[in-house]
Subunit: 241 residues, 2 copies
DNA sequence: GGTACTAGATGGTATAGACAACTTTGGGTC
DNA sequence: GACCCAAAGTTGTCTATACCATCTAGTACC
């Protein structure tokens, strides 16, 4: 009757599949424990464990008496949140403006293609935006997007919805890879960010996965002193009453 | 019989207290589920839930057939791991050397005292170490330590055990706060790290908590191009079999 | 001394049932 | 319509039991 993958894991994956496929959109209702009990013929304790672990992972939210619902913000749980630069600027009380420098369809160069694990020459969307806070350049965003994961990426009105928001909405995020480093500004970057050539920049490189493909590869560059990445981590629950 | 805090939480906190107090050192054995069942008069399923959640949080490790044991590496679970620079260098296949520049007891200046939430003038340990990889400066480590949390900090043989290891071993880590930024090298930093003044540095600032106090405040500076922080994050389990 | 096996201990999962706490809903009353 | 209240639905917790998989220690054997 019960086979190698435990029942609670099978149920977890069943739920996850519906969520990441998109047929259970954010905020929609997940079947109640008793419904799942009768549908899958497993006990309620087992269903409860599966749902509780999904809630711990932040995929669903549960409310006693109300029900279980697909969570909206999926990937923003880990430290060094993938936060929208627009939200960042606005929450500082500054004015956010964005300038579109590039928006095109390109053939992947070897170095870029390798990031996507795709053959050289594959067509990719490419955008380059400059974000300003109170009219001062804050972030230069150079982004490549896999057309398979976001077919109408070039059609977005970047002035209304920045790429980050679009991708979060469209593609169910599976994995994120970060690298943060410091570098000296090249002449081109210095000109765009209004700093001296050779002055320090803070650069975040990020790859995201969706539907088991690399969905995007982006480089975010900030002038030193104007931005920093922060995060916190708590061990266990660590309250000792 | 059962009161407001659920039984499984009471048990979790009971175990956690023994671990953070230090009377159950790392790798020591935690009572088996059946022992806890008879000791606390609760059912095994409840004990199992408590222990499973502690294992998920990384506080203990469990092995079927063997038992449950206090985990050794407590805080290295979050992304942007708190990894020892020595391990980092050695795992790159380079030679690690460390030079002790400062090792002293100081009265906290206002800006430092504020980081510790302590009054100005409180005595703190201060150390400054320079780590080299294959004789090239890689990291300058400027560290303040709360004597309450690590009384014999100044007595360590930094050549054998770098501060990071000592602190991990001594103080049960409760919380970590990070900030990563880029900066231009001051003359002093440039000289120590063997770079040009004004050239880009990557700087990590970190505070750690232990026993409900700020235990340490450290600034780690790296020459640009020689180091970067990497991390990854997976949503849910996200395998969809 | 070394090796192979076995019995016991331990954690991993699952069940059926129960009660409690909480939310929503619908009906009844004013 | 506005309000109150009871009923139904949902999640949170807990129990007692069961069977299985794995590891350990001790024993018997060579």
């Amino acid at each position: 009757m019960n086979q190698r993958p435990p029942q609670y894991l099978k149920l977890k994956h069943h739920i996850l599949r519906h969520i990441t496929n998109g047929d259970w959109p954010p905020l929609s209702r997940v079947p109640s424990e008793n419904e799942l009990v009768s549908k899958f013929g497993i006990s309620r304790m087992t269903v409860n464990r599966a749902m509780r672990e999904l809630a711990d992972a932040g995929m669903v939210t549960r409310t006693q008496g109300a029900g279980t619902f697909v969570a909206e913000r999926k990937a923003e749980s880990a430290m060094f949140e993938v936060r929208s630069i627009r939200d960042e600027i606005i929450s500082r009380g500054q004015k956010h403006t964005v300038e579109i420098l590039i928006r095109e369809l390109v053939s992947a160069r070897p170095v870029t293609a390798r990031q996507f694990a795709l053959p050289t020459g594959t067509e990719l969307y490419h955008s380059r935006l400059l974000h300003r806070a109170d009219d001062e350049p804050l972030q230069l965003e150079d982004r490549f997007v896999n057309p398979v994961c976001a077919p109408d990426y070039l059609e977005i009105d970047f002035y209304k919805e920045i790429p980050h928001q679009y991708l979060m909405r469209t593609a169910p995020l599976q994995r994120i890879e970060h690298a943060i480093e410091a570098e000296a500004a090249s002449k081109r970057l210095a000109r765009l960010l209004a700093v001296e050539p050779g002055s320090p920049l803070l650069t975040l490189t990020r790859r995201t996965w969706s539907h088991d493909h690399v969905a995007s590869y982006v480089r975010l560059s900030y002038p030193a002193g104007k931005f920093r990445f922060v995060g916190a981590f708590n061990a266990g629950d660590f309250k000792t009453p």
